[in-house]
Symmetry: C2
Subunit: 230 residues, 2 copies
Amino acid sequence: MEAQSVDRRSVQRSTKLSEQLTSILREEVLTGRVRPGERIVQSEWAERLGVSRMPVRDAVNQLCTEGILVQQQSGQVFAAQIDPDDIRDGYYLNAVLASMAARRAATRISEDELAELKQIHTKLGKAAKAGDRHEASRLNWAFHRTVNRAANSARLTALLRMTATSIPHSAFEMVDEWPDLAQADHARILDALSAHDGEEAARIMQRHIEAGSEPMLTELRQRWSDNPET
Amino acid sequence: MEAQSVDRRSVQRSTKLSEQLTSILREEVLTGRVRPGERIVQSEWAERLGVSRMPVRDAVNQLCTEGILVQQQSGQVFAAQIDPDDIRDGYYLNAVLASMAARRAATRISEDELAELKQIHTKLGKAAKAGDRHEASRLNWAFHRTVNRAANSARLTALLRMTATSIPHSAFEMVDEWPDLAQADHARILDALSAHDGEEAARIMQRHIEAGSEPMLTELRQRWSDNPET
DNA sequence: TTGTTAGATACTGGATACCGTATCCTGAGT
DNA sequence: ACTCAGGATACGGTATCCAGTATCTAACAA
């Protein structure tokens, strides 16, 4: 809970300050540094982070709609109680949304986008062979982002963004056998998209994401049972 | 697009101004009064609605995370293109979330909450018999809200709130045979919850919501095919 | 001692004014 | 017709201020 002011000059022009604060606060709650039920006071965090109240306000609002924070009628805001089930549901929901996106992408995807997807796919294969996990992870996210973008739905994109917040970006670097499984799934997804077969694409995508999240969930269950009450 | 300032004194103390504005703006976009792709300028809407920029800012942010509005890197905000598939997906997603909530409610629900649910259920039955559709609709929402609350997950609640925005509150008053179907489903859900059978509750809940949305979706498809390009 | 009430305190939502910056638009010059 | 410079525009953020309300505290009454 010590001071950790935000360095504006470093990232500035790219990201909005309120978004940085959203990430910081979300992390604080999700990692338990801010305890469940703890009250969040805008002005305190503003001072602590060395910013004005407004971007904190925006961040708090955002996290309330994400369900990371909870606002009661009085207006006071508290850290939500997040349990393993929430994480599990979050992953599953992400799979459902990604599957919807794949279905829609199949009917709308252009040749250019297919080509881009194939390129990412082969690059990912090379990175995996070379054992470059970081690059593989990056390309994996690029693959999925491209499919989601091809779905061409602002609403789906927004919901995916929300559910994705519970998934660590480095998640796939943890699992050993993941790259090979992913490559096989991606290939099938690519086929389904090329054939414009929405149902097939949706089916594979959902299984793909659920399978990918499984190792992380067991890992999480492990940690939680080690440490039942924080 | 004419002026329609907000009357504060009417609802005031209960709802935040920014939430009222969120509803208004969402409605404007969803009904097409604000055309897809049309630019949203905070200060214009602030003046039009007779409020300051700030609550408009909050509303715009909220709608961006809902995917009703889209913000591009430049910072400019535009009305999203919402198509029938988005609505369909929204309903389905709502069913998935409600099903998750039911599963969790089954394991956690208290005797008090079960009693409350039963009370709502019987009241709904009476209202339906009496042909009071408005009251029946209200009680239906109460029923589902109670189940969702029993799930006791801030995160699920938040996501449900988001998906619910695409569902008109009066939706169920439109469908003739709905009350009887709903009563039967609700009874089975109640049984599953009483027996603390999560999987059963989840299964029925999902089918229940999907079935309930079907008539509205055909209605929507109808309207859309009548009027293919707004 | 316990319960109630009145006052002090603190925090949020909102209004207002202002600044720096990035984008866009427009028009002049080539 | 094209490019580029400069102005207009709008957004994010800061700083203050205010009103309403919720919570806390402490005195007072039962």
